[in-house]
């Protein structure tokens, strides 16, 4: 039993196997995500009741909260995968970590932008130094640093390891940053209206929100799988199977 | 004579080119391994893998395999003199030498240091800033470490130690290397010069397959 499990794990960490096995997985994940997101967003936009204090602008929540949640989760995932890569020298883990970065950046940008847009009708200004927005901004900067470091390194293998170390330092720092920014925020503006903490949510609002979070999560998984597959092809391009795959892809186009 | 180093199935590729593969060898006390090969054949990379600096080489390296107590790269027993000589230009040869030894935990009486510097031909240059020295003299500052006798050190890994030296200095260093090996040390070196002696074994990289 244990043996089979270990063998199964090793298969998955081999780039070739991952490449083959992840293909149907990303396909189904993608469709499940689409289904969930269409349901969640149509529900959220059209069928969820209006929020008493913020009016219809609260409907931004169905994008804002999932994006914010995912951007933090992806950063944590990058750090974990970096650690796995550094400790067990699993290349695949580095590949996936690298390809998580652009997806994470897109989520952080979405969270920041929707937060700012939501701020306009709620606070009357596009930008408020609100604790959540500020720490999201810092998170975006951390992401951009990771990406810049990857691009600056000449050898991709060094980029992998360097970015893993940076992500680990960042992930240790992230709670401290969040705590400090929250503390700073309460010090400076005690009475802002918190945007993402409405009073206990109506089930008609909560359900689409949860569905949307799940949808974002599955979509992210699908995107990361697809991108990781391409990263594998690029890095393993000298292996025969990857050459063959690239040949095939060239013929199709 | 006990084994100092075993290298097992080393493999290295760079820029889509295999530099060496399935490279295995064992070195014992008293051996001198002379690594040969054209520029870019991976000699420096191999040395750096042996001392544990490079991670572009796959395969297994074990130092002192019979000694169960030592770690993977027992730094206290190995001296590595790289192509970049690790000579800090703002420090005098004496300060450089003392610092290099201190990093390995050795404190050597000053007169030994002066002696070693004199042996490599730096008499009179001991306490001027190293940036006033010529390139050859700077290399000698790095090599002076080899002329300080420290019994704890069992292996030397030398990257092109003979370049930029004059004929006299080359002979002196060759003698020193042979003497170290005869005392039970082990030397791995790259060099475009040859080194002669019964203990010398050659290994050529980059031979077209």
């Amino acid at each position: 039993m244990w043996q089979t499990l270990v063998r199964w794990f090793h298969k998955w960490t081999s780039p070739k196997w991952f490449y083959t096995l992840s293909k149907p997985l990303s396909f189904w994940l993608g469709w499940a995500a689409t289904l969930l997101l269409v349901t969640a967003l149509v529900w959220g936009l059209m069928f969820a009741p209006i929020e008493r204090l913020q009016g219809n602008s609260y409907r931004i929540i169905f994008l804002h909260v999932p994006a914010a949640f995912l951007s933090q989760a992806i950063y944590a995932a990058i750090a974990v995968m970096g650690l796995i890569g550094l400790v067990w020298r699993i290349k695949l883990s580095f590949y996936a970590a690298k390809q998580c970065i652009p997806v994470g950046i897109s989520m952080a940008v979405l969270a920041l932008a929707t937060g700012a847009i939501w701020g306009k009708p709620t606070w009357g200004t596009w930008w408020e130094w609100d604790a959540r927005l500020t720490s999201m901004l810092v998170l975006l900067l951390l992401y951009l640093g990771l990406w810049a470091l990857h691009n600056a390194m000449e050898r991709p293998e060094s980029g992998d390891r360097a970015a893993a170390i940076l992500a680990l330092v960042g992930v240790v720092n992230l709670p401290i940053i969040k705590f400090s920014v929250e503390w700073w925020n309460t010090l400076h503006q005690p009475a802002t209206l918190k945007i993402t903490e409405p009073p206990p949510m109506h089930p008609m609002m909560l359900t689409p929100l949860l569905l949307s979070i799940l949808g974002f999560f599955l979509a992210t998984a699908a995107w990361v799988l697809i991108r990781t597959r391409l990263e594998i092809l690029e890095r393993e391009r000298k292996a025969n199977w990857a050459r063959e795959e690239l040949n095939q892809m060239g013929k199709v186009e | 004579m006990s084994a100092v180093l075993t290298a097992d199935r080393l493999y290295c590729e760079r820029d889509e080119r295999v530099l060496f593969e399935a490279l295995s060898f064992q070195l014992d006390q008293g051996d001198i391994l002379h690594l040969k090969g054209p520029n870019g054949s991976g000699k420096t990379t191999l040395l750096r893998r042996l001392v544990g600096l490079s991670h572009v080489v796959e395969g297994e390296v074990r130092w002192f395999p019979e000694d169960t107590e030592t770690s993977v790269e027992p730094n206290e027993k190995i001296w590595y003199i790289a192509h970049r000589p690790a000579v800090t230009l703002l420090q005098s040869p004496l300060e450089n030498l003392r610092y290099g030894l201190a990093l390995h935990g050795h404190q050597v009486p000053s007169e030994h240091l002066w002696q070693a510097l004199a042996q490599v031909g730096l008499r009179g240059f001991e306490d001027i800033p190293s940036h006033q020295l010529s390139a050859g003299q700077q290399r000698r500052v790095a090599l002076a470490r080899l002329f300080v006798s420290v019994p704890a050190v069992k292996a030397w890994v030398l990257d092109e130690p003979l370049t930029a030296l004059d004929v006299q200095a080359v002979d002196l260093l060759k003698d020193r290397i042979r003497a170290f090996a005869s005392d039970g040390g082990c030397v791995i070196m790259t060099s475009h010069h040859g080194i002669e002696g019964d203990q010398v074994r050659g290994l050529t990289l980059g031979v077209p397959a």
């Binding site: 810092v138 470091l149 060094s158 400090s180 | 790269e73 590595y80």
Partner: protein, 225 residues
């Protein structure tokens, strides 16, 4: 040689080198002075308003000055090959690196701290806050040097590492700057500041323990290429 003796030797070498490069060391101090001078010119010469910003301005300027000097932390050792020898030493490299970072603090963070009272007068910081400004700057710049050391190690092999270093490390300085300025401001307003100071000290301690590991790992990457 005992461990302490080795570490003392390394520290001594670093300070000696810093002394011989003393012209480089003046630059961060000059930078600090200039940034602080530019603020009243750019914002307002009104002393009441300046007093309100003083803590923040001094902290941001000190942070930037510190960042400016970080790029040099490992660069010359990397270029002449000393860094390889450091990683191959039989003394744990984490301790050696810690010595280097502490030396860096002694020649940048500490002088910045000592210079800060003069500049705080120019910005009309309440006199009562000055001792705390110095204390927090001393602790804060140490943390900055420790965290910045990781960044310096990550970028040491790159030709244009300086700017990248700033991008990588700046976000991590956020907590230090928040609690540093808050403590000074609180002291200026006559409010309790012990909590902020304790947090700063905790961060310095945490960085002291954790960052050398990351720094050495990063240096191994730079050297291993």
């Amino acid at each position: 040689m005992t461990m302490t003796a080795i570490l003392a030797r390394v520290l001594r070498r670093e300070l000696q080198l810093a002394y011989r490069r003393r012209a480089d060391l003046v630059n961060p101090l000059l930078f600090f002075l200039i940034v602080v001078t530019l603020f009243p010119i750019g914002v307002t010469p009104d002393l009441d308003k300046l007093a309100e910003m003083a803590a923040g301005v001094l902290w941001v300027a000190a942070l930037l000055a510190n960042l400016l000097s970080l790029d040099l932390l490992f660069r010359s050792d990397f270029e002449d090959g000393s860094l390889e020898q450091l990683l191959l030493a039989s003394t744990p490299p984490t301790l050696l690196v810690l010595c280097k970072v502490i030396a860096h603090w002694l020649v940048t963070g500490l002088p910045l701290t000592l210079l800060s009272p003069v500049l705080s007068v120019m910005l009309a910081l309440p006199a009562g806050a000055v001792p705390l400004l110095m204390l927090t700057l001393a602790l804060g710049t140490l943390t900055l040097s420790l965290i910045g050391g990781v960044g310096a190690a990550l970028t040491v092999g790159l030709r244009k590492g300086g700017l990248l270093l700033t991008v990588l490390i700046m976000p991590m300085f956020v907590p230090v700057i928040i609690f540093g300025t808050a403590a000074v401001q609180a002291a200026g307003d006559g409010l309790p500041w012990a909590g902020q100071l304790a947090l700063l000290a905790a961060m310095a301690l945490g960085a002291l323990v954790l960052t050398p590991l990351a720094t050495v790992a990063a240096l191994r990457i730079a050297v291993g290429d």
